[in-house]
Amino acid sequence: MIENRPLLVYVTHGVLILGLLVISFPIYIAFVASTHAVEDLIATVQPWFGGQLIENYLTVLRSGKQTAGGVPVSTMMFNSLIMALGITVGKIMISIISAYAIVFFRFPFRMFFFWIIFLTLMLPVEVRILPTYKVVADLGLLNTYAGLTLPLIASATATFLFRQFFLTVPDELVEAARVDGAGPVRFFLTILLPLSRTNIAALSVILFIYGWNQYLWPLLITTDTDMTTIVMGIQRMLFVADAVPEWNLTMATAMLAMLPPVVVVLVMQRQFVKGLVETEK
């Protein structure tokens, strides 16, 4: 603080608290709605918690929402988890070894491969929806976990992050390893991988959120309701014809859909901030 202005201190805290309230408001209302019975939410607003917290959550976890296909939310969460972990682990594995090849080796067509990988940065799924769908369909990967994860696994961002980091590894380290007789594989496993630990942790947080929150892709390639992920499952719950819109169950599902990524961000806040800042560099 540069000068002492008591009034300004109050204004500052006031604005921040107001901001917090506005940001948290939708979540609060959703959580409140998820604790009520269906009848309580017809044409009325519930400002305070109801008594059906456990019933509602158990209902959606066990049997889902009957009017919207009745897929248990626990199944959806399991699918989302597999997808998120598959994308996280797969992306980190393939990008760390390709970055290793690009930085620590000299070989013909090195830059050519570098540019092929670089191109993917410019082509998010959203802009090549139909042809990618066709490829996955031709490979027979519709409604499979492989189809959910593989097309999202290649990414230039992770490769770049590792490349940037590898470039900062001192040459002396490589020389020392070579003098001691370590080959490329040994150097990678015993020196480079342990050094990359914090970067891998930071990237994992970001990729887990990215994978869990995927929406368009699972929407396209899963027609089998048993393969529904939770984020797209909510959308199916919204549009139910000729039935009481069971907002309490929909909101309970929304809370469950947010829970894992939000918990990851709160628990691993340091890695999250590091990952966010570094993937954008």
Partner: protein
């Protein structure tokens, strides 16, 4: 850039690159080239024959009032979302930067909406504004305003902008706060001694010094509004009412998967690719400049 010391091996680097290159070729390069090729074809309704028509699909696209509408809607949507998310993020970051006590607590509490999926953010806001039982919609009703985004295009747009901006504030807040903390305190103290108040200090010192961060966030937010908001639109309005929230990404999906107009959808994909590439190049050129600071 390249390291001085490298390993020598004939086949290992190719083996290490193989997984990523194979996935990239199968799921990125091949489909993208298909989209490019398809955008030059017209297919008959049964998908039996296709004819090479050069740029006819593009000509039709830019003559189509629905597409031009969608372009305009996307512009309005991304400008409003970006503006709202940037100003709120900046305001909160400036305030959090001033706070001495409890800064970490505020930071933690403001970060987590980033982790909420766009589609889920959309559903939360949809519930707040649900005409039958949404708390905000019913409050507006008691004040004499009849909110119904299912019928009113402007209200639908406002709703998706609010949901999209709400999710993005956390991101902007984080980057603005990092930018603010890099500004040397001595500059601000010198200005204060010269008699500049907090407002004057903000506009003449902090805001100009923050401009690299602002510009970077501008690009990121526009990309977000263009591409990552598909879930919000799809879950909340499905492009409606009467196409009032039919942004480009949603239109590619709707025309291709529901309308089955393959050539037209591919042409739209190509236009989108051009937009992404332009934005990426802008971002990278700017990033190079920032390195020299």
């Amino acid at each position: 850039m390249q390291k001085r010391v490298t390993f020598r091996n004939l086949w290992l680097p190719y083996l290490l690159l193989a997984p990523q290159v194979i996935v990239t070729l199968i799921f990125f390069i091949w489909p993208a080239s298909q989209a490019l090729f398809q955008s030059l074809l017209v297919e008959d309704p049964f998908g039996l024959r296709s004819e090479f028509v050069w740029f006819q699909n593009f000509e039709e696209l830019f003559a189509d009032p629905l597409y031009l509408d969608s372009l305009l809607i996307t512009t309005v949507f991304s400008i409003s979302t970006t503006f709202l998310a940037l100003t709120s993020g900046l305001l909160l970051a400036v305030m959090a930067d001033r706070v001495v006590k409890g800064a970490a607590a505020y930071k933690g509490a403001l970060l987590w909406p980033y982790a909420v999926a766009p589609a889920v953010a959309g559903v939360l806001w949809l519930f707040l504004f649900s005409p039958a039982n949404g708390i905000i919609a019913l409050t507006l009703k008691t004040m004499g305003y009849d909110w119904n985004h299912v019928l009113n295009g402007g209200e639908a747009m406002l709703l998706v902008v609010l949901a999209a901006a709400w999710k993005q504030i956390a991101y902007n807040f984080l980057f603005f706060l990092a930018g603010l903390q890099m500004i040397p305190k001595s500059l601000l103290e010198a200005a204060a001694i010269d008699g500049a108040g907090p407002g004057k200090r903000f506009w003449t010192i902090i805001f100009p010094l923050l401009s690299p961060t602002t510009f970077f966030l501008l690009v990121v937010n526009v990309v977000y509004a263009f591409f990552d908001t598909f879930g919000i639109i799809h879950a909340v309005t499905s492009g409606g009412p009467a196409g009032a929230t039919n942004i480009l990404v949603y239109k590619v999906y709707a025309d291709g998967f529901i309308g089955l107009d393959l050539g037209g959808s591919a042409a739209q994909s190509v236009v989108l690719m051009a937009i992404v590439i332009t934005l990426t190049v802008v971002q990278f050129r700017y990033l190079e400049r920032r390195v020299q600071y």
